[in-house]
């Protein structure tokens, strides 16, 4: 197992280098990083030249990539070209906010999705099953931003009609409120709901399918034949094996969402890492965008690895050499 993990980690290093180099080239070509400095009358010609020299902006892209790589290791991802602020504090702050939202929404989606999946499978083709099948088909067809906007409209309307503030529709906190408060919960409730509904569609579908795969196997028949009560057959024998694929999907989903609930965060102007990325990309802030891409790529790689390890751990038939 340890050699497998080492090999995977080592293998992901060249992949990371290639992918970051490609995105570095893309982002560099996408916008002129000095445009904002040139446009701002507060900066003199001298400052502009200093910025260009310090950041080696006149060099070719591969050379600049090399300098950027050095910055990543020696200066914690470097500084923004536009604001001259260090990037690292921004990344950790926004990532924290995103994690808060993602952990809540994914836990909600997994608990509900798995429960609904189990009931849909044991009562296949019942009204309940058809109802939630329709719900998840709707979930697959629904654009995330539209769902988010619907929730926003609903709660704005409630506020304007009855002057009741149930949930806030944008931002992260009212002034003077902290990270662990009811106020924060009121702010992140709608993004959490949006993401939970979309993920719920996926989990309930997968759980139903994987339950149906297991429920017809021989060992389940054996369990029934030896006289186990039905709930023990379902919970103790079917569910345990049916959950294995869900664990993998959850790990992958978690990684993907941590790197970018881009749309949801943008709609609710939530100070998360996805919204940070969109803002920086709009300003063509090269190093901030690159920092985001690097961090999220690493997150995705790590969670892919976790998914594989969990899979091998839960299913003893899988052996990694």
């Amino acid at each position: 197992m340890l050699t497998y993990i080492t090999r995977r980690v080592l293998y992901s290093i060249p992949v990371l280098i290639v992918s970051t180099f490609l995105s570095f080239t893309f982002v560099s070509l996408a916008g002129n990083p000095t445009a904002a400095i040139r446009a701002n009358p507060r900066f003199s010609q001298q400052t502009l030249e200093n910025v260009i020299r310090q950041n080696h902006l006149n060099d070719s892209i591969p050379v600049r990539y090399w300098y950027w790589l050095q910055d990543v290791f020696t200066h914690k991802l470097g500084k923004s070209l536009l604001t001259f602020q260090p990037i690292w504090p921004d990344i950790t702050r926004t990532l924290g906010h995103t994690a808060q939202v993602i952990i809540l929404s994914e836990s909600l989606a997994i608990i509900l999705g798995v429960t609904v999946g189990i009931f849909s499978a044991i009562r296949q083709y019942s009204v309940f099953d058809y109802l939630f099948t329709s719900v998840s088909f709707l979930g697959f067809a629904m654009p995330t931003f539209w769902l988010a906007l619907l929730l926003q409209i609903l709660f704005v309307d409630i506020y304007l009609k009855w002057n009741v503030r149930i949930f806030y529709t944008s931002g992260l906190n009212s002034p003077g409120q902290g990270t662990w408060s009811l106020d924060r919960l009121q702010h992140i409730a709608l993004p959490v709901m949006t993401l939970a509904i979309i993920s719920f569609a996926v989990y309930s579908r997968y759980m139903r399918a994987s339950m149906l795969d297991v429920i017809n196997t021989d060992y389940v028949r054996t369990a029934r034949a030896k006289g186990l009560p039905e709930w023990r057959v379902i919970l103790g024998h079917v569910c345990r094996n049916a959950l294995i694929p869900i664990v993998t999907i959850a790990a992958l989903n978690f990684g993907a969402l941590l790197g970018g609930a881009i749309i949801t965060e943008t709609v609710f102007t939530l100070d998360g890492i996805g919204f940070y990325f969109v803002q920086k990309l709009q300003n063509a802030d090269l190093y901030a965008v690159m920092a985001y891409l690097l961090v999220t790529s690493i997150i995705i790689i790590v969670f892919n690895l976790i998914a594989d390890i969990l899979y091998g751990f839960l299913d003893p038939r899988i052996r990694y050499d």
């Binding site: 992901s12 992949v15 990371l16 290639v18 992918s19 490609l22 995105s23 893309f26 982002v27 070509l29 996408a30 916008g31 296949q124 083709y125 088909f137 709707l138 697959f140 067809a141 629904m142 654009p143 995330t144 931003f145 539209w146 906007l149 619907l150 926003q152 409209i153 704005v156 309307d157 304007l160 149906l212 017809n216 993907a256 790197g259 970018g260 881009i262 749309i263 943008t266 709609v267 990325f277 969109v278 990309l281 709009q282 063509a284 965008v289 985001y292 891409l293 999220t296 790529s297 995705i300 790689i301 892919n304």
Partner: protein, 325 residues
């Protein structure tokens, strides 16, 4: 199930060869036998079996009809839409839906219903163009990678590694920031260039297994060239998954285009696409009709395409049908 009772399983009627060749005809052997037995038999191709399976799929057929109506309205937007998408009526700003303006009007008095119809036209153009282009790229790359292996196969697998490590939407945003510039066709090309890998992997897998079949060996022995084997012998057997994937790609492309346009990296405002319209509604949250109707149209289109895709999968690939337990 009734379908099985009414119609013998197609695989039972055809010999491996004709089945393999995209099955132009039912096998001559079985045909002769039944004719001798004095029964009248209509010769049916695999395609006609698939067609009748699809026609019996009620959900898929219903979705197809809805889809034809919606896409037809979009394609004929010039004739269907009661107003032009840019006609400004300053006496009717942010009007609620009425008999005059079915979906209401926006902040400069443009008729939302007409804008949605024109938006459908843009979205369907993007969806169909992306599906066709990405299917062709995926098909060619997948076929070469699966049949020859070699550097093309290596390249495909390395690209797969890359896509597994990078956040997809982020890459899409970066690409459109570089190349998109708000034009419908540029956005479509970017989408196609990023979406072909799914199909390429599917086609590669199919080619890998099919190239070892006896009929390929037979074709080789008969002196057929590689191109002929790939496109006349193997390809027809992979058409089912390709068609299904292409159909679903239309839905994917429409959804992604809408998301891109919503974030401001896709199609830019003067052109109405469904994503642009939803984004426009965001500035007027109290005028719910500006958000609801274009979004509802996206959901309707994507839902119908997904159902049609499911129906096609059942019709074209009977071996993959989920058996009702």
């Amino acid at each position: 199930m009734t379908e099985v009772e009414r119609q013998p399983h197609p695989a039972g009627q055809v010999t491996p060869e004709s089945h393999a060749q995209g099955a132009a005809l039912a096998a001559p052997g079985t045909l002769d036998a039944t004719v001798e037995a004095g029964l009248e038999v209509k010769v049916r191709s695999q395609w006609s079996y698939a067609r009748s399976r699809f026609f019996r799929h009620r959900l898929a057929m219903g979705s197809l009809i809805v889809l034809i109506i919606v896409f037809g309205a979009g394609a004929l937007a010039n004739y269907v839409a009661p107003y032009s998408f840019s006609q400004i009526d300053l006496t009717n700003i942010l009007a609620a839906p009425s008999s005059q303006h079915w979906f209401g009007t926006d902040e400069i008095g443009r008729d939302e219903f007409s804008r949605v119809i024109y938006g459908i036209r843009t979205s369907e153009e993007v969806g169909i163009f992306v599906a066709i282009l990405s299917s062709w790229i995926g098909l060619i790359v997948g076929a070469i990678a699966g049949y020859y292996g070699g550097w093309m196969d290596n390249l495909l697998m390395r690209i797969t590694d890359l896509t597994l490590t990078l956040p997809f939407l982020a890459i899409l945003l970066v690409a459109s920031a570089l190349l998109g510039q708000g034009s419908q066709w540029r956005v479509s090309i970017i989408l196609a260039l990023l979406l072909w890998t799914t199909l390429a992997r599917i086609v590669r897998g199919l080619f890998l297994s099919l190239r070892e079949k006896e009929y390929v060996e037979a074709a080789k022995a008969a002196g057929a060239g590689d191109t002929r084997i790939m496109f006349r012998h193997i390809l027809p057997n992979t058409l089912g998954p390709i068609i299904v994937n292409g159909t679903l790609a239309v839905a994917t492309a429409i959804l992604i285009e809408a998301a891109l346009s919503f974030l401001g990296f896709g199609i830019k405002p003067p052109t109405p696409s469904l994503g642009v319209l939803v984004a426009g509604g965001q500035t007027n949250p109290q005028q719910w009709w500006l958000t609801i109707f274009p979004g509802l149209m996206i959901v309707l289109i994507v839902l119908c395409i997904n159902f049609v895709g499911d129906g096609l999968r059942d019709a074209l690939d009977p071996t993959q049908r989920r058996v009702r337990a």
